[in-house]
C-alpha cells in the first residue's frame, strides 16, 4: 500500500498561490503580477486598494487571466461565483479565466463588511463598473492597434475583433506586462442585459467540487509552518475575575508549551491540537463569583425597565396620537423575540503570526478591514502593520466569534513568539459568540368605521448602537484597548412599513444595555420588526374582516412591483380568501398564513405563504410548506438566489420554532446542540418559489430579505389553524398549549 502523502503545510516564507496570482506572504507583503509560470515579469509592486480605481478591483495578466479583488467575501452564499459571473460577463471572458481574491487587507479594496445583503447590490456593482471601465479602455486600445472604429469591435472570450475582417487582438496582448491604471468611470457603458450569456443564468458554484471531496481549505484547515495550537479557557461567569491559576495542573500534558494569562484572559498553547484541548480541560484556575445577568424568566420585564438613551423616529406621517384617540376600534399587541446565537457548525478559528513587528492574521471574518483596525487598536500598532486575510469558514450569518478567535490567536502568537492557531470549542462558540439581542415591540393600530387602517404606531425596544465594531473578547478580558460602544447592527432598519396608512409613527427606543454582548445575526432587527409588523397586520386584517392580500394591496397600490409580487404569490400559492370562521375539531389542525416585505422599504420584495400543522394535544407546530415569490431586481445566479431563499426559510423556521439562548445569572447555559437545539432534517419544510427576474433593474440583496417574514408567516398560519396568536419567538409547545387553553 502507498503511504498517505501529507499535504504540505504552508511555509511562512514561501508563497501563497491564490488562483492565477502569486502573492508574497512574508511581511512586508508584495504583490507580484506573475500570472503563471510562463510569465517571468514578476515585478514587485504595491497593490492599489482605492475603491475608485479599476486596478483596485481588477488585474489582467498577459495571458488574459483576470483577477478580481473583492472586499466582499463568500460566507457560503455563492458570492465568489456571482462576482466571477459579473466580471466574466462585463469583460466577455470565460468564467474559467477569472479568479477572485477576497477580503485581504493587503490586496482588496475596503468595500465594507459582508453583511446586510449588500455583496452583489453594492460590491458586485462596483466590480461590474470596474470591468466596464476596463473593457472600454481595452476596446480603445484595440481600436488603435487594429486601426478600426471602437464601435466596430466585438469581444469573444477575451479576443477583440472587428465585426468584419480577420484581424484580432487578445486582452493579454493589449495589457502586455502592464497594469490597468484607470479611474472608475461612472459613465462607462454597461453591457445590455439582453446580450448576457453568463449573468442571469444558473452557474454551478465554483467551490462545490472541492468542498464535497475534502480538497477545499477552510479556515479551520489552514496551517502555517511552525504553527502551534491554542485553546482559550473562558471565565465560568461572564464578568468573573481570575484569582489564581495553577500551571502545574497541566505540566504533565504532552506537548504543552505555555499557560498564558493576561488579567482575565487565560489560554494554553501546545505543540499539538489535542494537547491544547487536554490542557484547557485540565487547567485549574480560581475565579471570582459574578452574577450580573438578569433573570431569564423575567427577561421582558428587564428589557422594558432598561433605561432608554435615545428615541429614533424611523417614520412619522400624519398624527398618530390624534388618530388613535379618535378611532372607532383600536388594536394593541406586544411582540417579543428571544436572544439567538449564530450557531455556525464549525466553531470560530483563526491563525495569527507576528513577524518583524507586524501581525498577519487569517480569519473567516466577514469584515477583515474592520478586524485589522481592531487588532491594531488592541496591540497599539498602526493599521498598516496588520494584515487580515479572509479564508472561508463555516457558515457565517453575521458577526459571530471569528474576530474574537483572531484576537485570541494574535494575543497568544505575540506571547509565545510563533504562529498560533486558535480553534474555539463548541462551548466557546455557543457561550461567547455575540448574540442577537432580545427585542420587544409594542404595536398599536386603529380602524375606522369602514375598516380602513387609520393609525399605525410601533415602538421597538432594542440596544443602542449601529453596525460598528463588536468589542473583542480577548481585548476586554486582557484589559487591552478595545471598543466600548455596543454594536448590535442596523437593527432599526426594518421598523418603518411600506404601507400608505394615513397616520403612521414608528419609533425605536434605544436601550443603554442588553444582557449579552450583542451583534447582528441574519436580518438583524428586520427579522424582529418583520415578525411584529406582518403578524400585527394579520391581526388587523382579521379585525377588519379583510383578506390579508387585499389589505396589503390596498396600502401598496402605488408600488407596482409590490403588487406584482402579491399577485404572483396569491396565484402561485393557490391562495383562497381566508375564512375567518375557526375550523372545528381534529387532533391536528392545518392553517395557512401569508406575509410580505419590501426590505428596508427600499429594495427586495418578498411574499410568502406558510402552511403549518398544529397538534392540539402537544402544542407542536410543524412548518410543512412555504410558497415564496421574490423580486430582487436583476438576478445574477438564479440557482444561487434559490439556495439563499431555501436557507433563509429553513434557518428561520428553526429560529422561530425552537431557538432561545438560555442563561443563568452568571453565564450562558445553552452551550451545545442539546441545550440549544436547531431544526433537523425530519422537520425541514418543503419550499417552492418563483423568482421575478428584472434584468434591466438593479440587482438587490437576497441573503436576508426572505428570512425577515418567516416568523410572521408561521404565526399567521397558526392563527388560521387554531385561532391563537403567537407573539413570542420561539413558538415552543408550552406557549402554544398555554394559548390554546385561554
Amino acid at each position: 500500500m502507498n503511504a498517505i502523502s501529507l499535504p504540505p503545510s504552508l511555509s511562512r516564507r514561501e508563497i501563497l498561490k491564490i488562483g492565477g496570482l502569486i502573492v508574497g506572504f512574508a511581511l512586508p507583503m508584495r504583490l507580484t503580477t506573475a500570472g503563471n509560470t510562463t510569465d517571468t515579469a514578476a515585478a514587485d509592486i504595491p497593490k492599489v486598494l482605492a475603491p475608485d480605481r479599476v486596478e483596485g478591483f481588477l488585474a489582467i495578466d498577459r495571458h488574459g487571466n483576470v483577477t478580481v479583488f473583492s472586499g466582499k467575501v463568500d460566507l457560503g452564499t455563492g458570492v465568489r461565483t456571482a462576482m466571477t459571473q459579473i466580471a466574466a460577463e462585463e469583460l466577455d471572458v470565460p468564467m474559467a479565466h477569472v479568479n477572485v481574491i477576497q477580503g485581504d487587507t493587503l490586496l482588496t479594496p475596503d468595500q465594507g463588511p459582508t453583511y446586510g445583503s449588500l455583496s452583489i447590490q453594492n460590491g458586485g456593482v462596483q466590480i461590474r463598473l470596474a470591468a466596464a471601465t476596463a473593457r472600454r479602455a481595452l476596446l480603445r486600445k484595440a481600436a488603435q492597434r487594429l486601426n478600426v472604429d471602437e464601435h466596430e469591435l466585438t469581444v469573444d472570450a477575451g479576443v477583440v475583433k472587428p465585426r468584419h475582417g480577420d484581424a484580432s487582438v487578445r486582452y493579454g496582448e493589449l495589457i502586455g506586462g502592464g497594469t490597468l491604471a484607470l479611474g472608475l468611470d461612472q459613465d462607462a457603458p454597461l453591457k445590455d442585459p439582453n446580450s448576457y450569456a453568463v449573468v442571469g443564468r444558473s452557474q454551478p458554484r465554483l467551490d462545490i467540487p472541492d468542498k464535497v471531496t475534502g480538497r477545499f481549505t477552510y479556515m479551520q484547515d489552514f496551517r502555517v509552518e511552525g504553527m502551534v495550537h491554542g485553546r482559550v479557557v473562558r471565565p465560568p461567569a461572564i464578568g468573573a475575575t481570575l484569582l489564581s491559576v495553577d500551571p502545574d495542573s497541566v505540566s504533565h500534558v504532552p506537548g504543552l508549551i505555555k499557560v498564558v494569562r493576561r488579567k482575565d484572559f487565560l489560554a494554553v498553547v501546545a505543540r499539538t491540537e489535542w494537547g491544547a484541548i487536554s490542557a484547557a480541560r485540565q487547567l485549574k484556575a480560581r475565579w471570582s463569583d459574578w452574577q450580573g445577568l438578569p433573570d431569564e424568566d423575567r427577561i421582558w420585564d428587564y428589557v422594558r425597565a432598561t433605561k432608554i438613551v435615545r428615541d429614533d423616529v424611523t417614520s412619522n406621517r400624519g398624527n398618530v396620537e390624534a388618530a388613535l384617540a379618535a378611532a372607532d376600534r383600536r388594536l394593541s399587541s406586544t411582540y417579543d423575540f428571544a436572544i439567538h446565537t449564530h450557531g455556525s457548525i464549525g466553531p470560530s478559528c483563526a491563525v495569527a503570526a507576528f513577524e518583524g513587528g507586524k501581525l498577519t492574521c487569517w480569519s473567516a471574518s466577514q469584515a477583515t478591514h474592520n478586524l485589522r483596525q481592531q487588532l491594531a487598536l488592541m496591540f497599539g500598532m498602526s493599521d498598516a502593520d496588520v494584515r487580515a486575510i479572509y479564508l472561508d469558514g463555516s457558515g457565517c450569518y453575521g458577526r459571530n466569534g471569528h474576530e474574537d478567535a483572531a484576537a485570541d490567536a494574535a494575543l497568544l502568537a505575540r506571547d509565545v513568539d510563533r504562529p498560533v492557531r486558535v480553534q474555539w470549542m463548541r462551548a466557546d462558540e455557543h457561550g461567547w459568540d455575540p448574540k442577537g439581542p432580545p427585542t420587544l415591540i409594542d404595536m398599536q393600530a386603529a380602524l375606522d368605521a369602514s375598516g380602513n387602517v387609520s393609525a399605525w404606531y410601533s415602538q421597538f425596544y432594542g440596544p443602542d448602537g449601529v453596525a460598528g465594531k463588536v468589542k473583542l473578547v480577548a481585548a476586554e478580558l486582557a484589559g487591552m484597548p478595545h471598543e466600548t460602544a455596543m454594536s448590535p447592527g442596523g437593527i432599526i432598519a426594518g421598523t418603518a412599513v411600506p404601507y400608505t396608512f394615513t397616520n403612521v409613527k414608528t419609533l425605536a427606543h434605544r436601550l443603554v444595555t442588553t444582557p449579552l454582548r450583542p451583534s447582528w445575526i441574519r436580518s438583524p432587527g428586520r427579522m424582529q420588526s418583520g415578525f411584529a409588523n406582518e403578524a400585527f397586520l394579520d391581526e388587523i386584517a382579521v379585525a377588519a374582516n379583510t383578506d390579508p392580500f387585499e389589505l396589503r394591496r390596498r396600502y401598496l397600490a402605488d408600488d407596482a412591483r409590490a403588487i406584482a409580487v402579491l399577485e404572483r404569490l396569491a396565484q402561485f400559492a393557490h391562495w383562497q380568501k381566508r375564512s375567518i370562521e375557526r375550523k372545528a375539531g381534529g387532533s391536528t389542525a392545518t392553517g395557512r398564513g401569508m406575509a410580505f416585505i419590501k426590505y428596508e422599504n427600499n429594495r427586495t420584495y418578498v411574499g410568502m405563504v406558510a402552511t403549518v400543522d398544529v397538534v392540539r394535544a402537544t402544542g407542536v407546530i410543524a412548518a410543512k410548506h412555504f410558497a415564496v415569490v421574490q423580486d430582487s431586481g436583476q438576478i445574477i445566479n438564479p440557482d444561487g438566489v434559490k439556495n439563499q431563499i431555501e436557507g433563509n426559510v429553513v434557518q428561520t423556521v428553526s429560529r422561530t420554532l425552537i431557538e432561545r439562548v438560555r442563561f443563568d445569572r452568571s453565564r450562558v447555559t445553552s452551550v451545545d446542540w442539546q441545550t440549544y437545539p436547531i431544526l433537523t432534517f425530519p422537520d425541514a419544510p418543503e419550499i417552492e418559489m418563483e423568482l421575478i427576474d428584472r434584468p434591466h433593474e438593479k440587482p438587490w440583496g437576497v441573503g436576508e430579505p426572505s428570512a425577515a417574514i418567516v416568523s410572521a408567516a408561521i404565526s399567521n398560519a397558526v392563527f388560521d389553524a387554531v385561532g391563537i396568536r403567537l407573539r413570542s419567538v420561539p413558538f415552543t409547545p408550552d406557549k402554544v398549549l398555554a394559548a390554546l387553553k385561554t
Partner: protein, 159 residues
C-alpha cells in the same frame, strides 16, 4: 500524573497505511486524521458527537470521529470524504451533491455525504423519509436540508 508514553500506531485510511506517533492514547480519531494525516474531509464541529461534521466510515459504518479514540481504529478500515472520490473522479454521492448544488458553506457536508454513504450501503433505494431519518442527527445551519436530501436521492435513484 505521569507523562503518557509516545506510541506509534498504524491506521488503514482510504486504502493506504498511515503510521504516526501519538503521545496520548485518548486522542480522538478526528485529530489524528486532520492533524497527523492532513486530511480536510472530517471536520471539527462540536467534539461531542452531536453534529456529525466529523463523520467517517469505519468498516463501512458511519462513526463520529471526534469522540472515537484513534487507537480503536487500528485494524479497521477508515474511509474519509477524500477516500470516496476527487473533484476529477467524484463518488456518485459527491457528483450528486455537485449536480444538486447541495452546499451553502459546506462545512457540514462531509457528515452528510459520509452518513449517506453508510445509508446507501445498506439501503440501495431509500425514500425521502428514510433519507431524512438517516440524517436526523446531522446538523446543517445554513438550511441546505432540501438540497441535501435531493442529492442523496439522486445518487441512489438518478435525477
Amino acid at each position: 500524573m505521569n507523562r503518557q508514553p509516545r506510541q506509534s500506531i498504524s491506521l488503514d485510511v482510504n486504502g493506504t497505511t498511515a503510521s504516526f506517533t501519538i503521545d496520548d492514547p485518548t486522542i480522538p480519531l478526528l485529530y489524528a486524521l486532520r492533524d497527523d494525516l492532513g486530511l480536510h474531509g472530517p471536520r471539527f464541529g462540536c467534539g461531542l458527537g452531536q453534529c456529525g461534521a466529523c463523520t467517517v466510515l469505519l468498516d463501512g459504518s458511519a462513526i463520529r470521529s471526534c469522540v472515537f479514540p484513534a487507537v480503536n481504529a487500528v485494524g479497521h478500515r477508515v474511509v474519509t470524504l477524500e477516500g470516496l472520490g476527487t473533484p476529477e473522479k467524484p463518488h456518485p454521492l459527491q457528483q450528486a451533491f455537485i449536480d444538486e448544488q447541495a452546499v451553502q458553506c459546506g462545512y457540514c457536508i462531509n457528515g452528510m455525504i459520509m452518513q449517506a454513504a453508510a445509508l446507501i450501503s445498506s439501503n440501495k433505494n431509500p425514500t425521502y423519509e428514510q433519507i431524512k431519518q438517516a440524517l436526523a442527527y446531522n446538523l446543517c445551519r445554513c438550511g441546505t436540508h432540501l438540497r441535501i436530501v435531493r442529492a442523496v436521492r439522486r445518487a441512489c435513484c438518478g435525477a
